[in-house]
């Protein structure tokens, strides 16, 4: 089996669900999301021809996937393309007095908020929610782990507030 084939099979087995969630974080439309996920798979497979073990497979996969997704998003014309900064998220009024938020609506809300984050914030937050620690995220992103930790702390607070703000059931 060719090197890129074997590595691709391994990557999909280990990171398949994470890649699908990654595509969801960039694209709300289901059809375009499917296209994006295919583009990510193609980019991964092509990239594995030059995989040289200089970094872990995980770092490689996430770099290719996120970089490809960002290119895709920038290449398509978006009618309502705008990003929401941290200050805007925090300023949103809290309409909910109930701590329990309907799970599916909360997931939708989280997804919508993530999709509106500026690119780098979105990438860091998605990697964090996939369970990567600040050091691993820093390696993928090319930032210091201190900077990553600070960003995650601020973004988490803002996203939690945003998720709880909208759509709670009594």
């Amino acid at each position: 089996m060719a090197k890129e084939d074997a590595l691709f099979e391994e990557a999909v087995a280990e990171f398949g669900p994470a890649l699908e969630r990654l595509a969801r974080g960039y694209e709300a439309d289901p059809d375009k999301r499917h296209d994006l996920l295919q583009e990510i798979h193609v980019a991964l497979w092509q990239s594995f021809k030059s995989f040289d073990n200089r970094c872990s497979l995980r770092t490689w996969v996430y770099r290719v996937a996120h970089n490809r997704a960002v290119s895709y998003v920038r290449s398509i014309v978006r009618k309502d393309s705008k990003t929401v900064g941290l200050d805007t998220l925090k300023a949103m009024p809290d309409e909910s007095t109930d701590v329990d938020v309907d799970r599916n609506r909360a997931i939708e809300r989280l997804l919508a908020l993530v999709q509106q984050l500026p690119d780098l914030d979105r990438q860091i937050m998605m990697l964090h929610m996939e369970g990567l620690d600040a050091v691993s995220i820093a390696e993928i992103a090319g930032l210091s782990s201190v900077n990553v930790g600070t960003k995650i702390h601020r973004l988490k607070k803002a996203l939690i507030h945003g998720v709880r703000k909208g759509g709670s059931d009594v």
Binding site: F8, W45, K49, L110, L120, G142, S144
Partner: protein, 208 residues
């Protein structure tokens, strides 16, 4: 008073929601990926082909004018426009595609990739005047002069008032045309400066 249930640990809440998404979980087939790769590469080749076709249309159109030009100004102007079209195609070809190569996306960190993309966009916007507009200016200018000469508005000692007005119209049109080019270049420069600010912000992020 009703008791509120205990708050979820915010540390886990987001990650839990994120990973609880219902996924399609479709199996990815290698053969489908190979086919898709071929399709993408064909799409890129077709896009390049469209650029060559556009240039060929310009060459054909102005090439015809060279053969049937009413005077040497129009002929010279058309030669320059054809040369500009050929030059732009050559420049596009040698400067390469604007897309990253597949391996780049893995060798670059996310910040490096962001910066590289922003720099490429910035350079394109800064260079658009020099690479895509300026080459056509001499030829178009000569064509305008040629039309004015053809219609008796220029280099005509027996010019009538009507011809003079026509010459003024040609001059006005030429001014508007170059004014439009200048506006396009200025707007692109402004967009390039905005991109430079984003690049500076990324640099600052990296230094933290």
């Amino acid at each position: 008073m009703s008791e509120k249930p205990p708050m979820n640990n915010p540390e886990d809440e987001l990650a839990g929601l994120w990973r609880d998404q219902k996924l399609e979980g479709n199996k990815v087939a290698l053969e489908a990926i190979r086919k898709k790769t071929g399709k993408f590469e064909r799409a890129i080749r077709n896009r390049n082909l469209m650029e060559y076709v556009a240039a060929a249309v310009v060459v054909a159109g102005f090439g015809r004018t060279i053969l049937h030009a009413e005077n040497n100004f129009v002929r010279a102007g058309s030669v320059l426009v054809v040369a500009a079209a050929i030059y732009i195609v050559y420049a596009l070809h040698t400067r390469g595609s604007s897309r990253h190569l597949p391996g780049d996306a893995a060798r670059m960190t996310l910040v490096q990739f962001h910066r590289s993309s922003l720099e490429r966009q910035r350079n394109l916007l800064e260079d658009i005047w020099r690479w895509y507009i300026l080459p056509f200016v001499p030829g178009l200018l000569l064509n305008m002069v040629g039309f004015a000469v053809r219609d008796g508005a220029l280099l005509n000692p027996d010019r009538t008032p009507a011809q003079a007005r026509h010459g003024l119209n040609i001059a006005t049109f030429t001014l508007f045309m170059f004014g439009f080019f200048f506006l396009v270049a200025a707007l692109n420069k402004r967009a390039a400066r905005r991109l430079q600010r984003k690049i500076n912000e990324l640099d600052a992020e990296e230094r933290q």
